[in-house]
Point group: C2
Chain length 277, copies 2
């Protein structure tokens, strides 16, 4: 999927909502536990109920890996379902991968070729040759961690580093450096919503890139604040909400309630888009 | 597995060799492609031929994920085979995982509970709450990236950071900070062999920890140099070799040739251990 197609979808749906599919068997409605593949059935119901309100779905790969081979089967069925029934949807494998070059190539193959995701999240610690194998895929997107939404973000990401006689936070150096990598036009970045004041600084470094923003809702970030500093002329934001939507109810009405929560966010987004475009 | 058991195994086998199982269908002997599960059959033959020379096996998870569900089945069969037939062997899931707390818990569950690995590699970028969920598992080991063996290691890991009025490389700050995390006695670290001169510095910060050392052999690192600076009184090193051993031959004699290569490294290790213990 091209960036232009993502932008067109946002404008058409008046939404830049990403729904995180962090499916935990201990949290889904108990009546689903009796079907053959509860995780897939849950996802299918959530997707069918919300696909017109969201532009992207983001399965959190850990939640599938935790169930072993059964989990991978659920993941594969979920991505196939989206790709077949809703091909306009942007799909994100939230996997936080990254390794030496030949290994990153295998991860890229796993998510872009075997599973046919449009994008995958990666970690920057191992540098250029750990990310470029992902960037080599045309019309696929590599979403690199910059500033995350958790407390641990302040352990290393905001440390001041010295580079070329300048002092700046590590996450800014990560952004600056990554712009020079081959096929860097295929990069997007993860920036946590819990730190809205950082968005203005980040936009100085990467004005045009899309940002995937977790942390709105359950983690406490404000949609209005993030948009105030983070929106660009092509929108440039994908705002993720997981638990607040998918676990809005744990009864048989879970999909209906998920839609209601997604609609609330989508309506706020529509107002913001009307004011900004 | 306890650290003490790893040390006893090293002393008994006179080896601190880890064999990396980075199995690529394009590199294994073509006669194996006709069996039902070529990856597992390859691993089984390599393990049977080398288990008395190595103390650990390290499947590189990307190489299994790249083959989708079939790859995960091969991985599960491989780890089950080691755990059942060679329970003394230390097993490492080379996965480079790490995410916010509740997600890292799911990754820990995947590798420690579902797959029953003794250890998993993790990335530090997201900080304390992305690693502590792994550390919470008793007698399991979390092997965190410190200084890796690839070129990209110099993009961020060796940047100078300012912390408490002191200037030091990022990887040293990663080591220092991680020592304060809960259950940090369950931490080991990845330190690349291609930078042997760094080991002396690293040992000042973490004198007692085990280091997993990739980059000997195919990536050019020297075993003698690494041992000179990296050995501690409990050995404290697990030296990984992958391609030089498992792809020593791509014919029907591949397991025999893998043993010969492993034996060469083991014999060098035996000499080093005799001189140092």
């Amino acid at each position: 999927m091209t960036t232009q197609q993502i932008i067109e979808q946002i404008k058409f749906k008046k939404s830049f909502l990403t729904i995180g599919l962090d499916v935990d068997l201990e949290k889904i409605p108990t009546h689903l536990l009796q079907v053959e593949d509860p995780i897939f059935e849950f996802n299918k119901a959530i997707i069918d109920a919300t696909h017109d309100l969201a532009v992207a779905y983001k399965p959190n790969i850990a939640f599938y890996e935790a169930y072993g081979i059964k989990g991978w089967i659920s993941l594969k069925k979920t991505i196939n379902y989206i790709n077949e029934k809703y091909p306009e949807i942007f799909t994100i494998a939230d996997a936080k991968r990254g390794d030496i070059g030949n290994t990153s190539s295998m991860y890229a193959k796993a998510f872009f070729e075997d599973l046919q995701f449009d994008s995958v999240t990666v970690a920057p610690y191992m540098g250029k040759d750990s990310v470029e194998p992902f960037l080599a895929f045309e019309n696929k997107h590599t979403i690199m961690l910059a500033l995350t939404s958790n407390d641990g973000a302040f352990d290393f990401q905001t440390l001041l580093v010295n580079k070329d006689q300048q002092e700046k936070e590590l996450y800014k150096e990560v952004l600056e450096t990554s712009k020079k990598w081959k096929n860097s036009e295929n990069l997007m970045y993860v920036v946590g919503a819990t730190k809205a004041e950082y968005f203005a600084e980040i936009r100085k470094i990467i004005p045009d890139s899309f940002l995937l923003v977790p942390g709105v809702g359950a983690q406490g970030g404000s949609l209005a604040e993030v948009c105030k500093y983070g929106l660009n002329s092509n929108i440039g934001l994908l705002i993720n909400s997981s638990r607040a939507i998918i676990y809005a109810s744990n009864r048989t009405d879970f999909a209906k309630k998920a839609r209601e929560e997604a609609l609330k966010i989508k309506q706020k987004m529509e107002v913001i888009l009307q004011a900004n475009l």
